[in-house]
Amino acid sequence: MTTATHGAPAEDTATSLPRLLPRSGQHPEDWHAHMARHGRLPYRDRPGDLILDLSAAGLTGRGGAAFPAHRKLSAVLDAADKRRRPPVVIANGAESEPASDKDATLLWLAPHLVLDGLQLAAEAVGAEAAILYTHTDRRNDVGRRLGQAIAERVAVGADRVPVQLAEAPPRFLSGQETALVSHLAGGPAIPTFLPPRITERGLAGAPTLVQNAETLAHMALIARHGPRWFRQVGTTAEPGSMLCTIRRADGTPRVAEVPLGMPLRSLIGDMGPDRAVLIGGYHGTWVPAADAMRLTLDNASLAAVGARVGAGILITPPPDRCALTETAAAVRYLALESAGQCGPCLNGLPRIAAAVTEIAVGRQRRQTQADLERWAGLVTGRGACHHPDGTARFVRSALITFAAEIELHRRGRCSGTSRKAFLPIPRDSARTEEDWM
């Protein structure tokens, strides 16, 4: 375990947060600020070296799937050795979940950490090309600033592998690994069916590493401060810190860096018994407040209510909104974002959306809920990606958590008093092939 051997300033980086986000407010860190705070990029000069540290650190993907980072890098390195082809590394900053804001915030405030991580990942797997995939118009002029950041690094010779900026189409699936590769290859951002995995054969047939932007930022710090430092926050099974997007009833979304294992109560506040929190975004789970108040932000705790940490999205609609109606709108959005390639998803999601809408407008028939259950089961695990699975999970959790509200709606009533939408749902849906390119 190495600490501060690369000239990083003496700073109590052990247990104090934030680690990724700048300490002082909302000011983006430029190259100088980045160097002053974190020090030089600690290249290892030995491919695969970093992977050992990542394994010891127990870093898992922060894009939602929580796959161990060292295993992904190993897989790519092995494939590259076996097939004698240099791999490609891709920083996934697509953040196609509408309710999530953490990657956009990270890329805005601390782009150099992500770019450092990208270089380190490239070195670890022996890549010769790197891509930063994001929405360049998502926040102000982040596209231009990222371009500038990259140019700056090239100018000072910090980067060893050239970094290309690539644009993600505004689709829910555009951050899905195989869809991402499909788009970068010049096609629509729709998933392809494995095998082979993209770590084996991905972009242009090369072994491809797709890593969430935040995960790369953590890598950049683990490389500097070591695995033990990383483990100083979080839980033993799920170490480290993570970025969360918290949308509370009162204000605008907040992105915070928190330790894994933090009590949900501290993040979303105290909630009355008839409220609910959506954990994990639109592929996540609605959890009643009573349960949520006892849980902590880690998969071991959330498993008790069938939820997962995912990409760290926590949403608590205010009491004057009808979460059931909001859910119906979200499910319609999810259905429209289906790639339409796989029969069960194409047929199931629109029908599920129609049924949830039926329930929300108080027009459910006797078999509506039974149909919903059946369809949720039929779409799960039968597509090329997990979009139908996540949608089914989201819907099922709503049926359970909002059972009382559903009954109210069946009688023509509703506990919500405001019709203003709370859940962020994009208005434009895909109409033609162009919208997926």
């Binding site: 629509p188 429209l336 029969g343 629109p350 129609a354 033609t432």
Partner: protein, 225 residues
């Protein structure tokens, strides 16, 4: 080329066999093309299980190849006119009826490519298989032209009507297939289509049809082949 039919000998028998197997081969090829078009639209033959369409398409194509082989071998074996065996696959290699037999060779070459790639389909890329299979659309008309030009049998009487009927049926089937494909919903529009149908307040789908009504599936799958 009219034959002297006054004496039945082995040469005559071979020549007649070649003509007969040629006709059968053409009929079989026609059936194979029609079945192939049906497969692309996931059509069914009434009264038969679903796998029968694909199964018949494949089995008949193999039988057709056998008949073509017989047709070629008997024509070559027949000593009245000299047709070298190579003329079966190399166009214009036959001094006898050079052009018309040449058409037959072209058609056979294409057919061999289609059949071989289909037998090895599992080991080939989807795109390669599909590209070669499309050559069938060229192979059939060339075979038909070969038949009409090489054989006087097919130029009058019942066989003429048969030849015309084959051409008519294939042309109509291809037009039908193209028309149906043009009504297919493109991938990017499929889910939008179904959403509109389900969410339209006056939609019959929504109120009256059972969830598994066959029509509700129609807009949601474009054909693959």
């Amino acid at each position: 080329m009219l034959r002297d039919v006054s004496g039945i000998n082995s040469s005559t028998a071979l020549w007649y066999t070649s003509r007969a197997t040629g006709v059968v081969a053409l009929l079989l090829m026609t059936a194979v093309v029609l079945l192939g078009l049906l497969v692309t639209r996931q059509g069914r033959l009434p009264g038969l299980p679903r796998f029968a369409v694909t199964g018949l398409h494949r089995n008949l194509s193999l039988i057709a190849v056998v008949f073509v082989a017989l047709h070629v071998l008997t024509a070559v074996a027949d000593s009245y006119v000299h047709i070298p065996l190579t003329a079966a696959v190399i166009p214009l290699a036959s001094p006898y009826e050079r052009l018309w037999l040449g058409l037959g060779a072209v058609s056979l070459d294409l057919t061999i490519a289609v059949v071989v790639t289909s037998l090895l389909r599992r080991h080939l890329s989807r795109r390669l298989w599909r590209g070669v299979h499309l050559l069938a659309y060229a192979s059939w008309p060339v075979a038909w032209l070969h038949s009409i030009t090489s054989s006087p049998d097919l130029r009058h009487g019942a066989l003429f009507l048969l030849a015309v009927a084959c051409a008519l049926v294939v042309v109509l089937a291809v037009l039908w297939r193209l028309a149906a494909a043009s009504r297919d919903v493109p991938r990017a529009e499929r889910v939008g289509h179904l959403m509109s149908a389900l969410h339209h307040p006056m939609s019959a789908l929504h109120h009256h049809r059972a969830p598994n009504a066959p029509q509700s599936r129609a807009p949601e799958r474009a054909s693959r082949l």
